[in-house]
């Protein structure tokens, strides 16, 4: 697969409502990834890295930091649009992502609008496991050139 050209500017006319972003497929979530993310993010909550702690708290196992899933959606966006054009990025965490799950990030263009003198596109996104169970829903506003 060729690497997307992130320096390419999106324009109002080149983007259509309903367009889909190239999906981002992650490998099965590993404990090693959770340990790395704990260190990289500074979120050392033991629920994400210590199975004994998670079980004592009534969970079946450790699970992904919500912000790790949001970072994957960030990759989905910046694979498609230059990061400097990103104006707003929000997510709602709806279900837990467990070790071993194979997550796919998807996005599509939901709207084109004008705000604060800029032309923006609104993208809606999800992360979901191999069964299609949605874990996160997200939304982003990206500035595009009018022409």
């Amino acid at each position: 697969m060729t690497r997307p050209d992130t320096t390419m500017k999106l324009t109002y006319d080149s983007v259509n409502i309903g367009d889909t972003l190239p999906p981002l497929e992650l490998p099965p979530l590993s404990r090693a990834t959770l340990a790395l993310y704990a260190g990289a993010s500074g979120d050392h909550n033991p629920m994400h890295i210590d199975t004994d702690f998670a079980r004592a708290a009534g969970m079946p196992d450790v699970f992904a930091h919500g912000m790790l899933s949001m970072a994957w959606l960030g990759r989905l966006l910046t694979n498609w649009a230059p990061q400097r054009d990103l104006r707003e990025f929000s997510v709602r965490f709806s279900a837990i992502t467990y070790v071993g799950e194979r997550i796919v990030c998807n996005g599509r263009v939901a709207d084109k609008l004008e705000r604060d003198g800029e032309t923006l596109i609104r993208v809606v996104m999800t992360t979901a496991n191999e069964k299609g169970e949605v874990k996160l829903t997200g939304e982003a506003f990206i500035a595009v050139q009018r022409q």
């Binding site: 990289a40 979120d43 629920m47 960030g74 990061q83 990025f89 929000s90």
Partner: protein, 147 residues
């Protein structure tokens, strides 16, 4: 007690430098391999002054210093009852390795739902760089489950 008296609580302002090594670890943890996010020469060749911080990275640097888990723990909340409900970013300028960011964080809202079974705590953080430029505003909603 988790009630509306907490609205307006301000966390101590703090500053932190965006380190290139921390950005590379964040890239590794999130599966980001594109050269402009891990290699400073590639970043400059792509038109950046240094490594760009990915969209959700700034949330990590305030986690290091103004620990909401510790703060809630101090209020008697069991950390295993805390869930991350939602997260949003508004972006005004790109953050790069070498930037010094200043974080000003406050409790914006406290909402009790389902008769107190869930308490939503909304925290708002302003992020400014070393030039005094506002780079982002970050909103985080933490949900505390009742007993």
């Amino acid at each position: 007690m988790l009630d509306q008296k907490l609205i307006g609580h301000r966390f101590p302002t703090h500053s932190a430098v965006v380190e290139a090594g921390r950005l590379r670890l964040f890239a590794k943890a999130t599966g980001e391999t594109r050269p402009e996010y891990v290699d400073e020469h590639a970043a400059r060749a792509a038109g950046h002054p240094s490594l760009p911080a990915p969209p959700t990275f700034s949330a990590c640097l305030y986690l290091d210093h103004s620990d909401i888990f510790g703060w809630l723990g101090g209020l008697g909340v069991d950390v295993s009852r805390i869930l991350h409900g939602s997260q949003s970013f508004r972006y005004f300028a790109q953050v790069y390795a070498g930037d010094r960011l200043t974080f000003s964080s406050r409790i914006e809202d406290v909402l009790s739902k389902r008769g107190g079974a869930l308490v939503f705590i909304v925290r708002e953080t302003d992020v400014d760089n070393q030039a005094g430029v506002r780079v982002a505003e970050v909103r985080s909603t933490i949900i505390v489950k009742g007993k």
